[in-house]
Symmetry: C2
Subunit: 341 residues, 2 copies
């Protein structure tokens, strides 16, 4: 097996820097669009054969160093009692958003068994990968799930989320605790099914102040990382807009800390501490640039990583549907070539 990714997670030396991309299976690929013409996102997620097939699409096409199971961070909301819909072109819509303590109380504490279609997809994908590259499992982090559940979809200001956090901290912590317990069980099932690493996506946590992050989020994220430590797989802790809280993310947990594009990788790694691995940090929008501009930025990131063991190359956030597929391919090659030891 290509061990580059797992070695880098453990800060072991590698022959060249491993690379994978968030949302590497997605609409920018014709293979994916062909499947989406026949199935909805939820149908793809809930049919293990199809989810495994989508997972392998980018692996069959590009020399990526890791696969990530095809799923959605919002899947756990449904069995917890939240009515979720993926409206075409609009992103997720929640029909019964959580707005008060009673709604928090009503949320079901599921054990993850209701999501066994994801575990099954992982088993399928592992078989299909047949040892080519490791498979990453993932889940949304409590804050990011809570913000979707409370706002009812995406948000600009996180108005209602912060309102609950500030005005009813008891309800807030109860909600976060429920998500933390559900996510821990869900990720454990993914690991048992064959996930060789996991990533926790706290995509929107960068909207918080450092003080609020410490007080309202960190304890719940710690529950997850502490709960999964003995499973023995590398754990990645990801967020965006996190320059001010990188130190606290490290405290919250994770063998690998995701770095978004806003901050220089060397400065970010110094903040995180060199006893952790880091993942990042190309601005995804750079994939729209001409190849020589992409190369200039890939070189800069690799230079800032400085050949230190423990760097996984990734975008600062996911690939967008309109991104040119040849630029995705070229970027992967650049990372491998420019980082050869």
């Amino acid at each position: 097996m290509n061990e580059r990714f797992l070695k880098a997670c453990r800060r072991e030396p590698v022959d060249c820097t491993p690379v994978w991309f968030m949302r590497q299976a997605g609409r920018y690929m014709a293979e994916y669009r062909a499947l989406r013409a026949k199935y909805s996102i939820l149908e793809l997620c809930k049919t293990p054969e199809l989810a495994a097939q989508v997972t392998l699409q980018p692996i069959d096409r590009f020399p990526l160093d890791a696969a990530i199971i095809f799923a959605d961070i919002l899947l756990p909301l449904e069995p917890m009692g939240i009515q979720l819909e993926f409206a075409e072109g609009e992103g997720p819509v929640i029909h019964n958003p959580i707005r008060d303590r009673a709604a928090v109380e009503r949320l079901r504490l599921i054990d993850g068994g209701e999501l066994d279609y994801v575990a099954e997809a992982i088993r399928h994908a592992r078989r299909a990968l047949n040892g080519r590259v490791p498979l990453i499992g993932f889940a949304g982090a409590p804050f990011t799930l809570a913000s979707y559940a409370i706002e009812g979809g995406g948000s600009r200001n996180y108005l209602r989320t912060k309102q609950m956090m500030y005005a009813d901290p008891t309800a807030w912590h109860k909600l976060m605790d429920k998500f933390a317990r559900v996510i821990t069980g869900y990720l454990r099932r993914q690991i048992k099914a064959g996930a060789q690493a996991i990533q926790l996506f706290d995509s929107w946590v960068g909207c918080l102040s450092a003080g609020d992050y410490l007080e309202y989020v960190v304890p719940h994220v710690q529950v997850i990382f502490d709960g999964l430590k003995r499973e023995g797989v590398p754990m990645i802790h990801f967020g965006t807009g996190t320059t001010a809280i990188l130190r606290h993310m490290r405290e919250a947990g994770g063998d690998v800390i995701g770095i978004d594009w806003r901050v220089h990788l060397d400065e970010a790694w110094a903040m995180v501490g060199h006893d952790r691995a880091v993942q990042g940090n190309l601005d995804p929008l750079v994939l729209f640039a001409p190849l020589h501009e992409i190369e200039r930025r890939v070189e800069d990131i690799l230079r800032r990583a400085g050949g230190r063991a423990g760097h996984i190359f990734n975008l600062g956030h996911g690939i967008l549907p309109s991104m040119p597929i040849d630029h995705v391919a070229a970027t992967i090659d650049m990372v491998h070539k420019l980082s050869q030891r």
Copy 2:
């Protein structure tokens, strides 16, 4: 006159910390809503008597330490040739967004005279203020104006903005240069009309990497601050999501650097350097919290400012329409009482 604000801008000692709020004239006030029932935003902006009246509404009601002229950062776009509309409840919509070099070339380099209704509003507001508190003038910074002009409104990913920046840097720099020259002239006219300080709003610049900020934005912001230095009024440089670029914002210019809520004020001030003043940095959403929670956070910010000369209290971004007006009032009082020397 209440000189607290201007003294703090110059890092001179004050009796207590000055405070004003971005969007302190706005829909959270019944007086403002009453005027908006009769006039559109553009009508208010373009009628100097009304703009001055709105400017004074929060000053008449609260013991704020500065007024800011009522206007919109997008006003310069219209005379430059961009068709702008404030769609009710949707924010600004631009009907002919700038998508190519030809559109950049067509943009008119106005000298600011077309916006003399703002200068006239400043004269009216100065007379009406009659020396009670200083009056701040303002403008949008080149990046933030360019992002609106290119995207055609607000944006999540700044996809087209970054596409132009990366794919056609010549067009990008031409566009930024045009905005920088127009803004310099426009702000100079505001100062000549009586603005006693100015604030440059680079609200969305936090979407950029530190490297891109230095390369594609800083030179143009420097043109503005360098061009206005000899006018002798304090200049505030504001952005959000800027933790990774605070040092570069300082280099770009400004006597006062705006700090958003994500980063602790003491850490931010250390990054900016103590030879500059800072403004901030309460999360605006905290105004929805119970008063004891607001107080806890105001105390924390003042403690981190450490009694050092050169702190202006503000929110990290503007007041929202649904904010409780009594919490706005209480926060102003807390700042004054808790910071008494």
